[in-house]
Amino acid sequence: MTIEEVDVTIIGAGAAGLSAAGEAARMGARVVLVDDNQHPGGQYFRQPSPQNYKCKSLVSEKDRHRFVQLLKGIDTPLVKYCPGTTVWDIHDQFTIGLADGERSRRIRSAAIVISAGARDHVYPFPGWTLPGVITAGGSQNLIKGMGIAPAAPVVVAGNGPLLLVAAANLVSVGVEVAAVVEASNRPWNIVRHAGKLIHGGSNLGLAIKYLKILYKSKIPFLRGYGVIAAYGSECLSAVDVAPIIRNGKFERSQARRITAKTMVTGMGLTPSLELPRLLGLKETSMPLRGGPNIITNEKMMSSVFGVFVAGDGSSIGGVELSLVEGRIAGINAAIHAGIGASESMQLSLTRDLSAHRRLCKFRSGLERVFMNNVDWYDLLTPETIICRCEDVTWGKLHKCKEKGLITPLQLKAATRIGMGRCQGRNCLGTLAALTSHEGDDPTKEQEMPRTRPPARPILLSELLHEQLPPPELPDDPHLPRQQD
């Protein structure tokens, strides 16, 4: 019963993970590339899978080519690609617990690259739990991944460039979009930050393409507006939109109703942090990048020696940055594992670092274009669901706070918030925001429920097959303790 030893384990086979694996393998490292999904590519390179395409393919020639190159990069005996496999535990330095739906196993790795990506950041609002309200990522997965169109008419509402991409894609496949509702309202920011946006390279071309699609479609484009509530009984039937006024709050008196069977929403992305939090990696708060992001140095190494984090899973930056960060992380992880870097690899790294600097400038410009001061929590009513798994409402949390239960841990014990299947992914961000500045010391950060194994839910049955040495049984409660 030996545990496999490898040089670099890469968690997540999206843009960042695939490029990290490719570079690490190029250096001669033994790589294990783990991914939860059955197919590589993550969100951006989500491959269409069904035989029957109900929608035209939306992948550009450039992306198709890039993806093929990425797959070529991992097509080597040095890379063991493990799809359909979840990382549920990491301990020591570094034993990684894997589970593939049937059985668990461990690998020992000298270095780790976490490239687990991001998810849509959604602020709760009245009616957000209705079937038919989906995220921008959810819409993209239906169209690009499954070739299925969501039910029309669709309202696309929220904040950030992804929404525009989602809206443009919906239009391209012929779905009726009733309105695009974007919270930010500072088009002059494009001019203001033009100096940064120039560094976007092909991103600029893409942005212009999407905007053209939307402009040509003549779909109502409401800037400086937001959805204040979604309505429906069994599923979504309409949404109310209202303008956002100076102080970031919503002018409800000017609300108007739009019929919709699907609402595609999102306020940008936020990194998926279960594994970084399991490892205790240092975070920093970046409001323009979905809140908590992982701190990395120029090697893409985190605060834990030997753990590298790259792509949207470290700090939101989009596919171009993910590809570059993946390469940087892959090279440095291999170096950490003791693999020497040749001169050509060093040169490659230098080029990547320079690309990284340029892309960061573009990112900085882009996020400022979509910047806004919206007070999304202004939308909360006592009935608004905060914890979707346990149906904990904002009103219930408020009542507990009035009874003196004000810290996240106290609220968790009192309401079960964060204790459902999503392991707090849907609600702990809101809980943190709603409990900050409470308690005696306003500068002291509230202790949040700790992330513990399993990093994602796994079936108990997956733990029954791994070969283990005989157990060290707990003490028999009927006997005095054994003296050592």
Binding site: P50, R119, G147, R425
Partner: protein, 89 residues
């Protein structure tokens, strides 16, 4: 399953058409079904994030375990049922 990859599965007794490689959620949405579970207080819920992180689309597969409809691929003859979280012991 026929030559086109078309197959049939059941959702709460209703026969639904699916295609090889499709997720349960996609097949249901294509058939106009967006609600696939009842929450802790009986609210209808369904597909939300599409990438397996929100666990809203949980359904029961063949009467055994729960699975996320957005990730579980349809199989010919599969029995898919709503999970009712409001049903207490």
């Amino acid at each position: 399953m026929n030559a086109n990859g078309q197959l049939n599965f059941r959702f709460d007794g209703q026969e639904i058409i699916g295609y090889a490689g499709e997720s349960i959620a996609a097949a249901l949405i294509a058939s106009g079904i967006s609600a696939t579970r009842l929450s802790a207080t009986g609210m209808p819920r369904g597909y939300f994030c599409g990438m397996g992180v929100c666990w809203e689309c949980v359904v029961r597969i063949n009467g055994i375990n729960t699975a996320r409809a957005c990730r579980q691929v349809v199989e010919d003859g599969m029995i898919v049922e709503t999970v009712n979280a409001a049903e207490k012991l």
